[in-house]
Amino acid sequence: MKNIPISAMIGLAFTAVYFLMAIFAPLIAPYGMAEVVGDVWEPSSSQFLLGTDSIGRDLLSRMIYGGRTTIFIATMATVLSFVTGSVLGFFAAVSGGWIDQALSRFVDLIMSIPSLIFALVVLSVMPTTVTMLILLMGLLDSTRVYRLARAVAVDITVMDYVEAARLRGEKIGWIIFRETLPNALSPLVAEMGLRFIFMVLFVSTLSFLGLGVQPPQADWGGIVKENKEGINYGIQAALYPAYAIATLCISINLVADWILNRTTSLKGGRG
């Protein structure tokens, strides 16, 4: 752990700060999430560090609570996407044959429609609840994880050591969990970071379009939507979430890059 490069250190630190803020939001936020405490778009002051929003709520508190919502949804969706995608991907790779064909063609089909468009189509008939958002985003995105997991697993299952295990008579459980998974973990963990970023961007976009998290619940995309008119008067309220999303995503990217690099150098070591 001594060899972590500076960029990854910074990334880890920022990521930790954001997640801690999300977890302890009620303890940190100076005001309530939906509490109207001041005038419309008050400038920043010692009372309201980031000023107030379009109806006079403390922006910092909303940002903290908003981060909590955004990070929660993104995390849950990432977990769902990962569990579904990697289980199906490994299963397809190890089974092969028609199971693999059927799953892969179905995933091709889902991916032939852009995720955002697909999400919009589904949201036109489904209620926009947090659970629904998590399910929709998680399942749509699991197609990408599926592809990666399957590709990685196929690469590994043609390795002689997997064949050796099969010749030994090992069961499929051992082959997946002891032979395949440990070698697939690093690229998958790195991918997890990228998927999480994608989820943050996705949920923010949906909320911004008014089809994600519904008011008065706060999330970063929603804060932009609520405060976008302010931009025309030179009020930055709508830009703070942009800075927050950017720093969070860049941090995670730095960490993911580092994990991925470690993987490749490991591969290099294997020759």
């Binding site: 089909l109 032939s112 429609i113 961007l201 379009l209 008014g210 931009i231 950017a246």
Partner: protein, 319 residues
């Protein structure tokens, strides 16, 4: 005997059509078979049972799904996209003008982004691991970490409000001159360019680097050729297919980016139309827009596939 290329390309085209057909099923199923009740969604919780029944009748919701699907598909194939629930207008009519606007926006974004991305990708390769490469990958990292709409507002704030150039809303109509239109869409084009530039540059860089690491590049270097000659004569012919692939993938991505950017700038295109009608739960409009976006997306991916086939010397000159 049919040349294998012809056979492969025909296969790809047929596969593309099949995919589009399957996508139409998926879109239709997504809006009808899912457990949401469209009539209830449209009229809200307070609707009376009679009005619900009437609306269901009107929408044909009582027919079996398969019948409804084929009715819809039959209409689509004849250019009839149905009528909007919210205002009763013909969807095809409303879409035509908006599709043109969207294409106009996407076209100008592509015209700027594609050459720029390839150029910057080449620069990054030329100065690999030196500061231009690092700067480019840093900027890339930043732009892929911010959602499109936020790039939009950041640019509105800094360019339109603070610097006072270009307009923060992009209203265009047919009576405007090309110059006026371009002025109106300047910031949205910038946003879209930034959005796809990063991906495209990164992927171009990777594609070229991949080619540059081939043994035949070493052979060319050991012939004593100049670096530029090596790139022009040996790297480039092999890099075309991957680069076209990158461009097509990113144009497909651009089409999606358009949706959000149009909302930000209140631009009268298809994306805004779609988002508007999603919140109004106007299913026929959503289906029509979804199908068109899917068609464009599938079409661009198809072009990428076909270019890869055409550029492959093994397929072009079979044994």
């Amino acid at each position: 005997m049919v040349h294998p290329i012809v056979k492969l390309v025909t296969q790809r085209l047929a596969l593309g059509l099949l995919l589009l057909f399957a996508a139409s099923i998926l879109i239709f199923a997504g809006t009808t078979i899912l457990p949401g009740d469209v009539a209830q969604q449209i009229l809200g919780q307070s609707a009376t049972p009679e009005s619900l029944a009437n609306l269901r009748e009107e929408l044909g919701l009582n027919d079996p799904p398969l019948t409804r699907y084929f009715n819809w598909l039959g209409g689509v194939l004849q250019g009839d996209l149905g009528t909007a629930l919210t205002n009763g207008r013909d969807i095809a009519d409303s879409l035509a003008a908006r599709l043109k606007n969207t294409m106009f926006l996407a076209f100008w974004a592509a015209v700027i982004a594609v050459p720029l991305a390839i150029l910057l990708g080449l620069l990054a390769v030329r100065f690999k691991d030196r500061w231009p490469d690092k700067l480019i990958s840093g900027v890339t990292l930043a732009t892929i970490s911010i959602p499109e709409f936020m790039i939009g507002y950041v640019l509105i704030y800094w360019v339109a409000i603070r610097m006072g150039v270009f307009s923060s809303v992009a209203i265009v109509n047919d009576s405007m001159s090309l110059g006026a239109k371009l002025n109106a869409i300047a910031i949205p084009v910038m946003v879209l360019t930034l959005v796809v530039l990063a991906h495209m540059m990164r992927m171009t860089r990777a594609a070229i680097l991949n080619v540059m690491q081939s043994a035949y590049i070493e052979t060319a270097e050991l012939k004593g050729l100049r670096a530029l000659t090596v790139i022009r004569k040996h790297a480039f012919p092999n890099a075309i297919a991957p680069i076209v692939n990158v461009v097509m993938l990113n144009l497909a991505y651009l089409v999606v980016g358009v949706v959000v950017v149009e909302v930000v700038f209140a631009y009268p295109g298809m994306g805004q139309y779609l988002v508007d009608h999603v919140s109004k739960r106007d299913v026929p409009v959503v289906q029509a827009c979804g199908l068109i976006f899917a068609a464009v997306y599938i079409g661009l991916n198809l072009v990428a596939d076909i270019v890869s086939i055409l550029a492959n010397p093994r397929l072009r000159h079979p044994k």
